[in-house]
Amino acid sequence: MAVAGFGLFLVAHVAIFRLIELERRFRAMVRIMMAVGCTLLIVHRMTVPDLGFLPHEYTTAGWAVDLLNGLLAYGFLFIGYSMFYFLVDRGFSARMMIEIESSPKRRLQACDIAARYSLEMVLQRRLTEMLEIGRIVRRDSRYCNTGKGRVAAIMFAFVKRFLQLGKGG
């Protein structure tokens, strides 16, 4: 049922993204996921455990653990898909490969990539996204962390330091 639910989510997600011009796309994805998740909960309680075709030995678990398993699988499928989505939508490396592949000679030097996609463009896109989700605010032309942004900055700075991940970015 979790797999079917995730399939339903994918169909709704693609349809909505194609039909409507969305400003906050990920928020829309989360809302679709929640709506389908609630539908799953209802359908789970309304249907028989074997769904009319599953072998008996697969359906002997208690209803609560069955539901928990299903919700976990559905939730993690969504998280996994979100990773893929962010890679497609925001992946810096993916953008570099696309720039190389779409260049006239299908080859570029690092400086050509920098000319096509500048650091200002990279940072401006991130700043706009973080403004939308409330992690930063803009005062005149200066960007500052909000409380939410500060918490994230402190947490990630600790993780970077503790796991020796370097400055990154």
Partner: protein, 174 residues
């Protein structure tokens, strides 16, 4: 519940081991170590599964499942999914430009930074070089006298990503 608990416990073992290794050893190929440790810790899953009492001994009937292959596999699936989520988190902490930006802004809590000031804190050549090297190493690009070309593997990824971007109307991205 036996499978879920075994999966959760195995991930806890993995999490602690990975944190200790990354904290004490400077690692060059982090992704390889992350996956290697995950595979190594998979070996403790079966002993943990056997060690946890069967569901009908400790859990009420709605939460009880037989200790069969389905329960065993559900725990492995949980362990896999938790790893995937955690790997994404580590990758984000390591490479995300947005995360780095938040940390740079945190260093200037009073006045913040302008876009221009922020760009001065980055070395774009280093950012690009790091990613290009990673793409060459992973077999998506080849480098020839400073020129980068996509490999067949790279072209397949570009085709898939371009198709997805078109389908979802996502724009050029990056």
């Amino acid at each position: 519940m036996q499978g879920l608990l075994a999966g959760l416990l195995t991930f806890s073992v993995y999490f602690v081991m990975q944190a200790v290794v990354f904290h004490w050893i400077t690692i060059a190929r982090r992704a390889v170590v992350l996956v290697g440790l995950w595979l190594l810790c998979l070996s403790v899953y079966a002993p943990l599964f056997r060690w946890i009492p069967e569901d009908d001994v400790i859990w009420p009937p709605p939460l009880a499942a037989p200790s069969d292959a389905v329960t065993f596999l559900s725990g492995i699936l949980l362990y896999f999914f938790l790893f995937m989520g955690y790997a994404q988190f580590v990758y984000m902490a390591e490479s995300s430009v947005g995360v780095r930006t938040l940390i740079e802004l945190h260093a200037e809590p009073e006045n913040g930074l302008t876009l221009k000031e922020l760009t001065h804190r980055y070395r774009y050549d280093w950012m690009l070089d790091r990613r290009l090297k990673r793409l060459v190493h992973s077999g998506y690009l080849v480098e020839d006298s400073g020129w980068y070309r996509t490999t067949t593997r790279g072209r397949i990824v570009v085709a898939i990503f371009s198709w997805c971007k078109g389908l979802l109307r996502l724009g050029p991205g990056g």
